[in-house]
């Protein structure tokens, strides 16, 4: 996981990854399996928090914080609010007629994706660095490049901020306009006539 930080640390991150991954998948299963919508929403919250944990393991601390604030804090509250408003209608979340074809399509998608993931020769950064360290040279990456990569991944937040506010500033501003349009649209849709 990290750039050679000892076997104990690697074991701990391995265990943490599997715990978080399993809880994310169980939470996702709950969203589609619970008949009570409120329980499905709480299950979604479990899944979203687990995804924030995965972001921490991937050295994306800023994203983990955004995930907690936006998804767990705002979106899930909005969903629970809507569930409460429509509660007298919503007797659970029944499936429509397409349940079996949908399950089949999802299973086929999963099989195809898993096949591709496991059979592709990924250009893996950690493996490249490890291979370079083993032969004591710099076959794929220059030594100063490796140092700078380690520097970036020791604290990614300032680098992400630099990207957001410098290289991607146009998209950043466009996102603000998108959010404004969404707020106005939502207000127009639910306004009392």
């Amino acid at each position: 996981m990290s750039f050679g930080s000892g076997t104990e640390a690697a074991l701990v991150t391995e265990i943490a990854f599997w715990l978080i991954a399993i809880s994310a998948v169980i939470g996702a299963m709950g969203v589609v399996q619970f008949r009570d919508l409120f329980r499905a929403a709480m299950s979604l919250v479990v899944c979203l928090i687990a995804v924030a944990g995965l972001f921490v393991l991937l050295r994306a601390e800023f994203l983990a914080a955004v995930q907690i604030i936006v998804y767990v804090g705002a979106i899930s509250v909005l969903l629970v609010f809507a569930i409460m408003i429509t509660r007298d209608v919503a007797q659970g979340s029944p499936s429509n007629k397409l349940r079996l074809p949908a399950a089949l399509i999802a299973a086929l998608f999963l099989a195809a994706t898993a096949f591709v993931v496991l059979n592709t020769d990924w250009n893996n950064l950690d493996e490249a660095i490890a291979a370079d360290a083993e032969i004591g040279g710099s076959e794929t990456l220059a030594a100063e490049t490796v140092d700078q990569i380690k520097d970036i991944y020791s604290n990614t937040v300032p680098w992400v901020a630099g990207l957001l506010l410098r290289d991607f500033v146009l998209a950043f501003e466009a996102a603000s306009v998108l959010l404004l349009a969404a707020i106005v649209g939502a207000l127009a849709l639910v306004r009392e006539r």
Binding site: V31, I85, A90, V117, L125, A128, V160, A175, L179
Partner: protein, 112 residues
């Protein structure tokens, strides 16, 4: 774990979300399933940017921060997801007000 582990978790969550979005009648469950798919895509984008060496990196320099482009993508995906949920919930509430239903199978006309 490693790259393949993260990609597989993303694929599993995406498949579950796909199943939910295609098979459920309640519009709110469909929205929640779409959120699951957004999250799966985010995991994949961040994992890719964390583990994969860009070809340009061999002649590195100031392109190195671009290693983190996947995280920037995920930030924008989260923004779009927030806008989508706000509008989706508004549509569901408007549908509930006009038709007394939240089932997508009952919303078969665009006028109200």
């Amino acid at each position: 774990m490693g790259l393949e582990g993260f990609l597989l978790v993303g694929a599993v969550i995406f498949a579950i979300g796909l199943y939910g979005a295609l098979s459920k009648r309640n519009a709110l469950t469909v929205l929640m399933s779409i959120e699951l798919m957004f999250n799966a895509v985010n995991i994949t984008a961040v994992a890719m940017s964390r583990y994969i060496v860009p070809a340009r990196l061999e002649s590195a320099g100031d392109v190195l921060p671009l290693l983190l482009t996947g995280q920037v993508f995920a930030v924008f995906i989260i923004t779009v997801a927030a806008a989508e949920v706000a509008l989706g919930v508004a549509i569901v509430i408007a549908l509930y007000r006009n038709r007394e239903t939240v089932f997508v199978t009952d919303a078969i006309e665009m006028r109200h």
